[in-house]
Subunit: 265 residues, 2 copies
């Protein structure tokens, strides 16, 4: 009993009623969009932003201007007719998004998708959805998705815009920098055995600098920073700046543990 209580305090309590929010990887994968109206246009943009191969099925006369534009620009493939069951025969179809004003047709497509185990979303019909969409803020590699779990789609969009005003201006660019540093580090220390050390050091790096400092980091700074990895240390931004253009910096005693303090002097 005492142990159970201790554990209840120690481990996070379950908060049911949410969704499992995931970043689906659809680069180069086929997504079928049935319908070509305003909702379909939003879905299509989401898919293109994730580098999916999108095919839209809809009579040309019913394409909204944005969808028609993306067809004309060859951003997406267009099948100029209503949906037919054979459209799902391609085993490479990764996902199906339906946005048509025809509940009976929607339900038929949903059932076919379930038979074939293809993840599907029927717009505005929650029981016929493997997943919902939310409101997504995008800044380079950064994506922030706001879901109200169907309670208030408009509020989701309001919250997304509110968050966008609060984020550091260069958040996306700072994340790019960290991403490049991770790649460089993996090239320098590729051994899978070093995984925990790499992860630990990257965590220290992520915590050591402000957004602004991260954004201002040059390739030279990153290369200098990486020289600290073997020691597990992370220098201050002032130390990194002092190292710029200083080819003799390796002569300094910054890599022996006393690290950094003499460099800026």
């Amino acid at each position: 009993m005492a142990e159970t209580q201790q554990n209840q305090q120690k481990f996070p309590a379950v908060q049911g009623g949410g969704s499992l929010i995931v970043a689906w990887q659809v680069k180069g994968k086929k997504i079928l969009v049935v319908g070509g109206g305003e909702v379909a246009a939003g879905r299509i943009l989401n898919c293109l932003n994730a580098d999916a191969l999108v095919t839209v099925i809809s009579p040309a006369a019913r394409l909204n201007p944005e969808v028609a534009y993306r067809v004309a620009e060859k951003q997406i493939t267009h099948i100029d007719r209503n949906f037919e069951p054979a459209d799902l025969d391609d085993p490479a179809i990764n996902m199906v998004l339906v946005a048509v004003d025809d509940p009976a047709a929607s339900t038929t497509i949903w059932k076919l998708c379930k038979e074939k185990r293809i993840p599907a979303n029927i717009a505005d019909v929650p029981p016929e959805c493997d997943f919902y969409f939310g409101s997504v803020h995008r800044d380079g590699p950064l994506q922030i998705m706001v879901s109200t779990n169907g309670k208030g789609p408009r509020l989701a969009s309001t919250i997304r815009k509110f968050i966008a005003t609060k984020l550091p201006r260069d958040a996306g660019s700072a994340i790019e920098t960290v991403g490049r540093l991770r790649v460089k580090l993996r090239q320098m220390a590729p051994d899978p055995k070093d995984g925990p050390k790499r992860m630990g050091w990257m965590t220290s790096v992520s915590d050591a600098y402000s957004w602004d400092e991260m954004c201002g980091m040059t390739d030279e700074d990153m290369n200098n920073l990486l020289r600290y990895y073997p020691s597990g240390k992370v220098p201050s931004i002032d130390v990194l700046k002092a190292m710029r253009g200083n080819p003799d910096v390796s002569q300094l005693d910054v890599f022996d543990g006393s690290f950094g303090f003499s460099v800026g002097a």
Copy 2:
């Protein structure tokens, strides 16, 4: 040409390189978690927060304390051995999450999942993932997921915490209120034909009040607010407050278009 340029300005540009972020619906659905370490513990909590039925497959000796606690509390089902291919035979399995330190075993499970078209995530092996996880803020019905698309998992967590400090204190509760209002409205005006009118009015309502005002709304306020729906109008919060406990409010001229201004007087 001129038209193309106009359209380029009119429609959002595609920003490739992102993920398709979706809120997966797993309530009452079976999710298999292979492995019982720290990463598995995080995945399991995500799944339980989304009301999934979780089965964890791992020798008992390798369960981390949190996973062992959730098994003991019967929050999840436990199969006390290593993974076997027959574990995937149940057609009700909705998703498979693998977090074991065994790349060969992981790859085998990934391939089996793909044969059976079961969405899967092999932790730390991006090419063997249909989807990635991110860092999720949770406040009742509100979920905010931060993804750096693999560039900086630590930064994702930093950004999530940063956002949490900026959000209005009662965001989750305000969303609950709006959700309840939507349900009441659908009961009052259930005709599917009224969908656009309902959606338009809910949008006006969502835009009309501050978070604080939304949170403070009582059931009586909501019922009074709903009386404005037929007119398509939305009263100020002061008007709603003035209506409290006033059974004769329907006598006032607030529903005829001149709406609201006399009520607070």
